[in-house]
Symmetry: C2
Subunit: 341 residues, 2 copies
DNA sequence: ACGCATCGTCGATGCGTATCGACGCACAGC
DNA sequence: GCTGTGCGTCGATACGCATCGACGATGCGT
């Protein structure tokens, strides 16, 4: 494991170092015969190019910076699937992933760009008013946001279409003849962080309820462990009409269902229930609930496509600056069917 | 943001480039006056050293490679806390974290070392017989394992002391006058992966039960969604004696508790229950269960200490090649107290 | 006053790769 | 046969920093 250089490869293949380089980059034509000799030599030495030297000479690192926020809060509907998808996508483009925790704030961003640690950055957990966004916009490397801040400052954003999700939930309940909608709000810890999607969801739900002529109330907050109280609060709403409950905070769904069960309230019979969560959780829950999908993989895949397009605009079709992934409604057991008169 | 170089800093400070370098590394004495001038110049330009150039010239990258396995399976008691702790620790040493998914197998390892992408590697989710371990051992960079394989091949390992945990669980039940112990085994998906701790836990539990003269049975497998069946199987054991249940697979704990509740079996009254899980989960569960802690943060912190010690052995005390973190038992409500005769 | 060690700084060099200009060659057209 | 045109290859250079040897300045002892 003595670490070979392209010069070693060149010597063995009987060519010059620059030829080896051209074989790797393909930026100049190389005869098939020479090419093969070089590839053989590489194989023989198990040669790997030195990434530092590459970054220095080529001005690109083949590294993607990933800025995530670990501190709990926000829907923890899996940071992992996001990271996994991003890692796989990076790998597919022969890029590495450098992890930066958001606790560092914008200092991490400056480091990534200033030290030439990566060619592009993908930043998650964007808040509605996020200090890091203007900093990111001023960097010399392209940045893609997962989440949509109030002012994207020209950066590309990818996110689930929370407004469409809210409309979808309201429409589903309206279409099935409900009289009233209650949205279980986000816990204070999430609200405080001003995560962008919180506001977008609630506003859109209110608007759509108005359009459909349904009264809509937001109950809040539902803190962890307080789900029983929320369930109570929720049930006092039940005036004998058809009540539909929408729970956008995925962490609150299962506890709420449990709290309802304890009170012998059966979703799908006594009230209706729609959650915003990954499909898998919704299907495996007891009972399986009607949900609007939040698929991290879709979102991060799109974000990576945008990122690589920014790195090489010639490589694909133009990407929209704000790319919202359409949610999907899956009907299960928890929405009461339209009464058949 | 034109990206300044140390030469720019040197020019502004009125010194040579090498002096700037020595100010940064501290490898040669620099007068306080000069030092300050250089630091001022750096500040003024918001200079950041080019990491590629640094890696090339200095032969170290200040990057830690982190190899994780995303594919579900194994106790998913939070990959995130591990990653977070590792990221923070790296940051504290002015190192970055490069993420490699284990799906790539040992190819990822070779890439990390071959391309000089990092100075050291930390590898998680080690299996009892893990192909990657011999590869890792042959690399030119130090590697720390989180988990203990059958043959560590000379690598340093850090892990929870699962054997002590098993002994602890058995002792707790024995000390409180139980007649029989049932260990709820791991699901087949985990067993198949041959994760090292599974075997270590089960073997140690059996041994200790023998020492304490208690019959111990292992029920398996408990697949996701099959917890009710497991609960049935478990309760058939109840011959009127004092039955203690140990659940090492943290993901199975809450579903099992739920299944028991449905059958009106109250842990702490009718049977005893000990789970292996993070303290937080145990305390917030309903009911809070007696648990043996599995604290990812402790483990990964120790792993990082070992890693940085390997990078600079003069920096601290020698580290043991196999470093097991002692578990901790927290008594809550689910173990029946010793009958007072 | 003179040699000697120490401190602080500088210039030069090398790290491994990408890239630019040059050059030799075969082959086309005339 | 001679010039032009790509094609394939080479040599040289630059990238930004760490490090080594050198060297002037200073303070010490005698």
């Amino acid at each position: 494991m003595a670490a070979f250089t392209s010069k070693d490869v060149a010597r063995i293949a009987g060519v010059s170092q620059s030829t080896v380089s051209y074989v790797m980059t393909g930026k100049r034509p190389i005869s098939e015969r020479t090419r093969q000799r070089v590839l053989d030599a590489m194989e023989q030495l198990t040669y790997e190019p030195h990434s530092g030297a590459r970054a220095l000479a080529g001005r690109r690192t083949r590294v993607v910076g990933l800025v995530v926020r670990f501190g709990a809060g926000g829907d923890a509907f899996g940071l992992l699937p996001f990271i996994e998808t991003i890692a796989n996508s990076a790998r597919a483009h022969d890029h590495e992933v450098l992890l930066v925790t958001a606790d560092e704030g914008s200092a991490g961003l400056r480091r990534l760009a200033g030290r030439a640690l990566c060619d592009a950055i993908i930043m998650m957990d964007i808040e509605e008013h996020d200090d890091r966004v203007p900093v990111a916009a001023a960097l010399s490397v392209p940045v893609v946001l997962i989440g949509v801040p109030a002012d994207p400052a020209g950066l590309h954003c990818v996110d689930l279409d929370f407004e469409a999700a809210a409309r979808m939930a309201v429409d589903e309940l309206a279409d099935t003849g409900h009289d009233e909608i209650v949205v279980v709000g986000y816990p204070a810890s999430v609200m405080e962080r001003g995560l962008n999607y919180v506001g977008r969801f609630l506003r859109s739900a209110r608007r759509q309820a108005q359009v459909r002529g349904l009264p809509l109330t937001v109950i809040e907050p539902v803190e962890h462990g307080q789900e029983a109280a929320a369930a109570d609060q929720l049930l006092t709403r039940r005036t004998g009409g058809r009540l539909g409950v929408v729970v956008p905070h995925s962490d609150a769904i299962v506890p709420l269902l449990n709290a309802l069960r304890k009170q012998d309230v059966v979703p799908g019979r006594d009230i209706s229930f729609i959650g915003l969560s990954p499909d898998r959780e919704a299907g495996q829950s007891d009972p399986p609930y009607t949900n609007i999908s939040v698929e991290p993989r879709d979102v991060s895949r799109r974000a990576m496509e945008t990122l690589f397009w920014l790195l090489d605009p010639s490589s694909g079709v133009e990407r929209p600056p704000i790319d919202l992934v359409a949610p999907r409604l899956t009907r299960r057991t928890t929405v009461m069917p339209t009464p058949s008169n």
